[in-house]
Symmetry: C2
Subunit: 267 residues, 2 copies
Amino acid sequence: MAEGTDSNRALLIDLDGVVYQAGQPIDGAVAAIDWMRRRQIPHLFVTNTTSRSRGALLQKFERLGFAAETDEIITPITAAAGWLAQRGLGRAALYLPREAQSDFAPIEAIEIDSDAPVDAVVIGDLGEAWNFDLLNNAFRRLMREPQPQLLALGMTRYWRGPRGLQLDVAPFVKALEHAAGCEAVVVGKPARGFFEAALEQLDCPAAHTLMIGDDIRGDIDAAQQCGIRGIQVRTGKFREADLGGEIVPAAVLDSLADLPAWWDAQA
Amino acid sequence: MAEGTDSNRALLIDLDGVVYQAGQPIDGAVAAIDWMRRRQIPHLFVTNTTSRSRGALLQKFERLGFAAETDEIITPITAAAGWLAQRGLGRAALYLPREAQSDFAPIEAIEIDSDAPVDAVVIGDLGEAWNFDLLNNAFRRLMREPQPQLLALGMTRYWRGPRGLQLDVAPFVKALEHAAGCEAVVVGKPARGFFEAALEQLDCPAAHTLMIGDDIRGDIDAAQQCGIRGIQVRTGKFREADLGGEIVPAAVLDSLADLPAWWDAQA
């Protein structure tokens, strides 16, 4: 790049709704990722996905036609495991699919239906597996004395699934916070610490980093609160009603496919 | 009563956790209600129960050994039906047990799994029938344009069921408010209008009325916000941790059985 055109240096890229949707890559997304690699643009995939492990995410990438390394993917699960371990909270009730629990080692996952006391109640994306008994089970754990720590694996409100909009983690966390009279620690988007950890790993200042996402709040607003410019794509959960409010993205692209042309036009 | 002892004139009585619990009357509660009737103390049963109709509640009373008239019972259901009818919101998706929907006439109950547009999404106590699909169905309705009105049948956080603490209406409403970015109109406790309607029906000023409940927030605090003194009972969902905070009841009784002696001691 020519001098003075280095304002955009690094990329944070959301996955679901940006790179793929309903199990299929978004048109042109794989080509855009190839472009990013050829240009050697520092990047991280920053996702709130907690329904599968990073290993399973890599397998999904491969099936969709692109490659990545484990350490290019930041999810709330590894951040949460670190957060718990640092505080000596070794026993956690994990409300997330068993497949995703492997990333939680060395935290001891307490069986949900056991009566054993826990240090933390961790809420991930159980999706359609949520039912009254599971939510009530988490609630009852939070009503014990001493109250375990409630940990939210991101605060995504909803996503676009194959059959339409689907509730994500945040509504269930809000339900538990209100019922048990406590406040969750959020590990994942939109928590500032999650973006700061990403910037540190990228080794790039916020002002030179872009966050590309489909979530006007969890991606765009949250990144911009940290000084990272947000690029809204019109794919995934995007709805026109998302624009025109208080949150103004740095740019709005029809999809990730438009990123290379936009990036070069900025330069 | 002697002159100058008329400070306590009327009673608002919560049902679940105060009069009965887990399908059984609380020891001495039936005798206390008999006492209240003999003394001809103006009273109303003020409940957030939305799992059954008022008719079914009366049958339950009879089974437990006491009698009441339909118009002695105030529930959020009849209040909500009136609220909707006044505003011409004639089509509602009712998330409450079918048995309780009869009190909603003349509002047209839209089948939950139909695709028909609705004017309002009404959240009652579905209890163990809640699952992901039902909550997501309510969420998707709230994401339509124009957004239907979200109506909460009370904002009780939890109650004590036969197997322990159970989530009530409020956590599910909080989940939907957060996911869909809207605010519910609350009909039932702790809404001020609900208590005001009760006072009007009693035809007694707030300062001379007592609210007896097991919910430090939904009964005691909410009543006291309206100038009604709150009497906390140590039955139902009561936990010692409920006391010692910012909310100070006018009195704390071991149970409803202690009401007659307490009332007379006040006189």
